[in-house]
Symmetry: C2
């Protein structure tokens, strides 16, 4: 039986556990919060909640680090030291450059690869987890210069096992792209939701636009700071667009206003 | 039998027609596009598609103007002149000050009231219409200084008939509030969708944030220009928040970044 050790049984780790169990794997799951690890067992996301990391890693074919980026970087040396020699090491962090740099420095760098399953939700914790979270979504794989081809293939197979589509990308490319597709949207949603608004005049569009704002603040502080150069570049590009709209509105220029809205429509219907 | 004349059988007019028919009303619907009016009958949204406005208004208890704001303002004098004396006149436009000012100038100003059912979608046309579009949503009513109390009561009853919750507000208050809850979100969504993005790295959050960007460009040009002072104020407030986030990121100030995200979270969970 294939064995997975999942470190962090929140939304992402719990959902991965559930998807792997459904595929016939045996899943051990630990969490810094022992209640979350126990909940994951109760909810059927994992088979077992070992008391410490070495017990979690026993016989593991794959170790998945589904914890915040700072914690992934901290944990990697111990994971490499204690996981069985054949075990694949992969993470699920939202920013890849710091993780992949830490992986590259490991003695077992050949069996480590950065991962980012593109799913998630503004809700967190094992209770929000489900085996279908990754179905049809892209699972980005970011190898370091020392990641072996076999490791990439095993990671791609893991991504497919949970129903997602593996996509290999360099860590810098990943971080630049998600600054636009994930981190900037989070910033915009949070800022919009923080403006005073008459709740009675809120329709489905506003609700769509502020759903992400319900996300965990400490988690997003870390993601935005870890990727702050790319996020700043995305925010600057957005601000330039916003200035263009401001000028068109101030000048009562309907032609330019319509062009801007039409350009956005073309963007989503590509 | 209560009779409604719906001018404009797109998403909003068609959905109102369907909701009124379900409540036992007889609904006549016209549209500048005769095909849309015929489609509305075929889709069961209206009972009949009269060839001209006077036939549409015959025996009407209520005339609903569900067309773009500029067209509402243009049509109002003819509607007031041709609709039966007892007919309530209401519109569904997204900006209320120009409409309510035009209503106030009518000979029959006492029976006219501005309306804005807070529903809608990035999709348009009769095919997107449905009788449940307004269920549980706020239906804003904006009386002019000359709107009678009886007219307000009849409009509130109409709002309830289609399943929505009537809410009386002055036109300036309405326009200021929807600039934040509807027009600014549209601008942000359109601008985000117009930035180049790697489609493979798009997750559910990005899709939520760019759904509105699929809206009709000409329709939104008019809404934004009709409400441009309030939209500009909302954009300026948003830009000040964006600058705050930019400064916090540039300074690597995790505390402030976390506060900003937490403030947004507090905003949506009020």
């Amino acid at each position: 039986m294939t064995v997975a050790a999942v470190v962090g049984t929140g939304l992402i780790g719990g959902s991965l556990g559930a998807a792997l169990r459904r595929a016939g794997w045996y899943v051990r799951g630990t969490d810094a919060n022992p209640l979350a690890a126990a909940d994951a067992v109760d909810l059927g996301l994992t088979d077992e909640a070992p008391v410490d990391l070495p017990s979690c890693f026993r016989d593991a074919d794959v170790v998945v680090l589904a914890v915040p980026v700072a914690r992934i970087v901290d944990l990697l040396p111990a994971v490499d030291a204690h996981a069985p020699a054949r075990a694949l090491i992969i993470d699920t962090g939202s920013v890849k450059q710091p993780v992949v740099a830490a992986m590259e420095a490991l003695p077992g760098a050949d069996r480590a690869v950065g991962g980012h399953p593109l799913a998630g939700s503004h809700q967190g914790g094992p209770a929000a987890a489900n085996a279908d979270l990754f179905r049809g979504q892209t699972f980005v794989l970011c190898p370091s210069t020392r990641t072996s081809t076999e490791t990439q293939e095993r990671a791609a197979s893991l991504a497919q096992t949970v129903g997602s589509v593996p996509h290999i990308l360099s860590a810098p490319e990943h971080d630049r792209s998600v600054a636009v597709t994930s981190h900037l949207p989070q910033v915009l949603s949070s800022l919009l939701a923080s403006l005073p608004a008459d709740r009675r005049l809120v329709g489905p569009g506003y609700r769509d636009m502020t759903r992400l704002a319900g996300s965990d603040a400490a988690l997003w502080r870390d993601i935005l700071l870890y990727n702050r150069q790319e996020v700043l570049a995305a925010v600057h590009a957005f601000r330039a667009s916003l200035d263009g709209m401001t000028q068109a509105l101030a000048a009562d220029n309907g032609e330019v206003v319509e062009q801007i809205i039409a350009r956005g429509r073309a963007g989503v219907t590509v």
